[in-house]
């Protein structure tokens, strides 16, 4: 050994090292003791605490959303269904480069800006290891394309679910409404625990009104999951309860015929069964596509709808408030008879205008030359204004208001669609409260022909017409005919409700008014005679033309000369068959012109669709001279 020999005390050195080795052994012992103490603390003292934490890790409570109830029309035609739908979900924890992944996904799947912004919003406030949806409603093609490329996208997955779909598209959209993705505002209104797992909620229409019936009850299950949230097995399960199916009173045949009858006109039509208040058709034209709203409408598309001059999103049937015009005349006439102010024989001379005693202001008749000597029948048939100015003045606003209230004017009809407006039946009290002014006699005159402050909704007009047809029963219109539990064939019907029963003083008064309305359609001088000529059943109707634009004293109404949005609204109310009324309708065409020429033909098509089952009326050009009937 080539080592330098130094003076080393080997005995001392070996004792030294040995002592130090023993000290190290003691140190090792202390370290081990500390560790064991730590493990005893974790595994014995705190065992239960960590067991709880471990269970919390492992077991998750999952909500199972219930299937939303389906919606059928009265004949069992499907209006709203749930279709299998695929959505693309991303588990961010499994993605290293989110931007790159999204970019690559964009090549095979369409990702709109709205998808991306929603995704980023969700990304900020989601629990660890939870997948968040990027796209809904993938097309079959997109599903296929992604499946082929799946290996390129760890952490991205397609999951199947059910999504609301309206197979008939725009048909009845204003009644049906639509569902949309739940936002935080919507969650505040509903019981949020019942909506765990639910992605959509009724936003408008029946979908919103009957949300609690359609939604059902959430199911729950405890599942064992991996850290990535993958379900290993279900530990226990409370199944969800599906929402109830709804059978509407709507007849989609009639609904479709009505919508078609509007062509590109703007307005509204309601068809109602006067025997029970069933809404047969609920139309607000133009319509829009509800399926576009289910998963979030693109901003541009929404802007196009919102800024459309015809306002397709506006529910005219429920919220459109129009002056009733001459359609109010049968009701005022009936008030005159029943209140004993006039008789069927009394007549008035119509010179073409009317003036209050001691006043030079002329209240004009729509017919400048006047109707000559007219009784109630002739006045309804030809829509003489002067007769009704006189009658209204004799009745006075209090009696007009008191009588018309029973027909449901001025208050909500109570239809089971949220958002209804009440219209306006003016009265002395109302004017005092609203305008702080006394009631003027001139205002009584124009109220008598359905102008001035008077506003009605299409629903109110239809319900009032139905009350005329059924002998004085004011019905609460209903649009849901029955509910049905899922997995059951039994229907749970909604009972018709009578809101008010109008006292009949003399049946002949009613008969006389109705007979006059029949003459509107079926007599040679009736304002709606064109729709009566070839009708296989007898119709009682009344035209109306409501002024949008106030004419000056000596000004002449010229449809061509004024802008379209200021032209008169065309109205028509009717019921048929007269002998045994099955259907009552109210039609309003905004800025359409004459009630007899524009609104009445639409009404005829509705009646035909329901009573005959087809539309036999041949289209012919509208004759302005005979059809026009401005008041």
């Amino acid at each position: 050994m080539p080592r330098q020999i130094t003076l080393k005390d080997h005995f001392f050195e070996s004792r030294l090292v040995m002592n130090r080795a023993v000290i190290l052994l003691i140190i090792a012992g202390i370290l081990l003791t500390v560790l064991l103490a730590r493990l005893l603390f974790l595994q014995v003292v705190e065992h239960e605490h960590f067991t709880t934490l471990s269970e919390d890790n492992r077991v998750k409570l999952q909500a199972i959303p219930p299937n939303r109830g389906l919606i059928y029309d009265r004949n069992g035609i499907l209006l709203a269904e749930n279709l299998p739908s695929y959505r693309l979900e991303i588990t961010p924890e499994q993605i290293d480069d989110m931007g790159g992944t999204l970019g690559a996904l964009e090549d095979i799947i369409e990702i709109r800006d709205i998808d991306r912004s929603r995704f980023e919003k969700l990304l900020k406030r989601k629990p660890r290891f939870e997948a968040i949806p990027l796209r809904f409603h993938l097309s079959d093609e997109e599903v296929a394309r992604f499946s082929v490329n799946r290996h390129r996208f760890p952490g991205v997955d397609i999951t199947a679910g059910l999504a609301r779909h309206y197979p008939l598209g725009t048909l009845g959209v204003h009644a049906l409404g639509y569902v949309g993705r739940i936002d935080e505002q919507a969650l505040k209104v509903v019981d949020s625990s019942n909506y765990r797992g639910t992605s959509h909620i009724g936003k408008i229409g029946i979908e919103k009104t009957y949300e609690s019936v359609l939604h059902g009850k959430v199911g729950l299950q405890h599942v064992e999951t991996t850290a990535q949230g993958r379900v290993i097995r279900v530990l226990d399960r409370t199944p969800p309860v599906s929402g109830r199916n709804l059978y509407l009173t709507i007849d989609s045949r009639v609904q479709a015929a009505t919508e078609a009858a509007f062509t590109d006109l703007t307005g509204s039509a309601i068809a109602i069964d006067p025997n029970n208040g069933d809404i047969l058709a609920f139309v607000s034209a133009p319509t829009y596509e509800p399926n576009a709203f289910v998963n979030g409408i693109e901003f541009d598309d929404y802007a196009a709808l919102r800024d459309n001059k015809k306002q397709p999103l506006f529910n005219r049937a429920l919220r459109g408030q129009y002056p009733p015009g001459s359609t109010i005349k049968p009701f005022v006439g009936l008030a005159g008879l029943e209140e004993g102010i006039t008789t069927s024989h009394s007549s008035t001379y119509c010179p073409g205008f009317y003036s209050l005693p001691g006043n030079t202001r002329k209240y004009r008749d729509w017919k400048r030359t006047g109707h000559g000597t007219v009784n109630l029948n002739r006045s309804i048939q030809q829509s003489c204004d002067v007769y009704f100015y006189d009658l209204a003045l004799s009745l006075g606003i209090d009696r007009i208001h008191g009588y018309l209230r029973h027909f449901g004017f001025g208050k909500s009809s109570g239809i089971d669609i949220l958002g209804e407006l009440p219209g306006l039946l003016p009265s002395r009290e109302w004017k005092r409260a609203r305008h702080d002014q006394p009631w003027f006699p001139g205002e009584t005159l124009i109220t008598g022909i359905g102008q001035g402050f008077f506003l009605v909704t299409p629903i109110q007009l239809a319900v009032a017409t139905a009350a005329l047809a059924n002998g004085g029963r004011l019905l609460q219109p209903n649009i849901v005919h029955a509910e049905q539990e899922a997995n059951s064939d039994d229907l749970l019907p909604h009972r018709p409700r009578t809101v008010d029963t109008i006292t009949i003083n003399a049946q002949e008064h009613w008969d006389h008014v109705i007979e006059s309305m029949v003459d509107v359609v079926h007599s040679t001088r009736g304002t709606a005679r064109r729709i009566g000529e070839d009708s296989p059943y007898r119709i009682a109707g009344k035209t109306g033309t409501a002024q949008v634009f106030g004419l000056k004293q000596e000004e002449k109404y010229d449809a061509e000369a004024i802008p379209e949005e200021l032209r008169d609204h065309a109205l028509f109310v009717a019921f048929a068959p007269v002998e045994d009324p099955q259907i009552a309708v109210a039609v309003i065409v905004e800025n359409g012109g004459g009630g007899g020429s524009v609104a009445a033909p639409i009404a005829r098509k509705i009646l035909d669709a329901y009573l005959v089952g087809e539309s036999p009326v041949v289209e012919e050009p509208v004759d302005e001279a005979t059809g026009g009937e401005p008041q």
Partner: protein, 374 residues
């Protein structure tokens, strides 16, 4: 001389095969038992992946073979090799810093075309050997200059490794070197002085740390401050161990381990799998085996016949002790997370080869005693 030889022959006849094969039975038993336990735990940690176990088995076979080979070398040969080993190691470390291969953000690998290896692993043995070689020639306890020289021998490779950065290995190398000096009789007052110095240097150390190293320290001080980030590991491993209880949830039944809640569960955090599935009892078993190894190693040190082997054996044994204490301490939340595997049990790494080579040295020291001139 002859009487001495004959007494050794008696020893040899008492455990003949151990001397012929240069193996130490208690060490060998504990190592094999620990390896077996490790494979069982690894099978579960890998989710029942037999291929993983097979790869580990191959590695263990290689490591045990290496141990066997090293055990055949006499401590004399080791002594002669020591300076060369150290110098070559330092050269390699420089080479790594200049042109090493990166993996996972750290530059640790040196590609020698034939084998790709980590010189830092080699230094785990070379540093204690070198310091022991140096101090064995001096009068013990070492004086100030000798301490300074020893400190240099330790600090140069340690700093180079810390720079790669590989804090865990640097720590092991530092403690290996320190234990040699301590065994050589480092004065208590100097020890106290250096401890104070180290504490004072902590802020300086902080300054030189990488961000992720600082993060580990912060996380250690308060793991709940970042439960989804770097604190997640320790929170989940504590849950795993704590929920294991006395007897554990059963092999392959640990929910933390099997359902992916426990990260790095076949490597650095495999101890938590053991704790969850086999409970406190399983941990006691492993600790018993570790204790046998450490105690046996220190006994070998005490029985060794010259200063070099005494210092080396003691240092290697205590380094092993530090090794598993640091790992289990970090998994149980007692120490900050440093990237150190659980010796013998954790999957992978060249570290198992170095570790076993170290045990080969211990066995060599134990079984070559009588042949050594003193």
């Amino acid at each position: 001389m002859s009487s001495v030889l004959s007494s050794h022959r008696e020893d040899a006849s008492r455990a003949g095969w151990q001397y012929r094969l240069h193996l130490d039975a208690p060490l060998l038993f504990a190592l094999i038992a620990a390896s077996g336990l490790g494979l069982i735990v690894l099978y579960s940690a890998g989710g029942g992946d037999m291929a993983l176990v097979e790869r580990q088995l191959v590695r263990l076979g290689l490591a045990f073979t290496g141990m066997l080979v090293v055990a055949q070398l006499s401590p004399y040969v080791l002594l002669r090799l020591t300076p060369w080993l150290f110098v070559v190691g330092v050269v390699f470390l420089v080479a790594v810093l200049v042109g090493g291969e990166s993996s996972g953000g750290a530059q640790r690998w040196l590609n020698l075309y034939i084998v790709r290896f980590q010189p830092s692993e080699m230094m785990k043995l070379a540093v204690p050997m070198m310091v022991a070689w140096y101090l064995a020639d001096t009068r013990l306890p070492p004086n100030g200059w000798q301490l300074l020289a020893s400190a240099t021998l330790i600090a140069v490779p340690m700093l180079m490794i810390a720079k790669q950065p590989d804090l865990g290995t640097a720590l092991l190398i530092a403690s290996a070197g320190f234990f040699v000096v301590f065994l050589a009789g480092l004065q208590w007052r100097l020890l106290a002085f250096f401890s104070v110095l180290l504490a004072a240097a902590a802020p300086v150390l902080w300054h030189f740390m990488h961000d992720y190293q600082r993060q580990r320290v912060i996380t250690f001080l308060s793991p709940e401050s970042d439960p989804l980030g770097s604190g997640y590991h320790v929170i989940q491993s504590k849950i795993a161990i704590g929920s294991g209880g006395l007897l554990g949830k059963g092999w392959m039944n640990g929910t933390q381990s099997q359902l992916d809640f426990l990260p790095e569960r076949s490597t650095d955090f495999i101890f938590a799998v053991l704790g969850e599935e086999f409970g406190f009892l399983g941990i006691l078993t492993l600790f018993a085996l570790y204790t046998i190894i450490v105690v046996r190693g220190i006994m070998i040190s005490i029985q060794a016949q010259d200063t070099y082997t005494r210092l080396l054996a003691g240092s290697l044994s205590m380094t092993f002790c530090v090794y598993f204490v640091v790992n289990t301490g970090m998994v149980t939340g007692l120490l900050p997370v440093v990237g150190l595997p659980l010796p013998i049990i954790s999957y992978g790494g060249t570290s198992i080869v170095t570790l076993m080579a170290g045990f080969g040295i211990l066995m060599s020291i134990q079984t070559h005693r009588k042949l050594l001139p003193t």
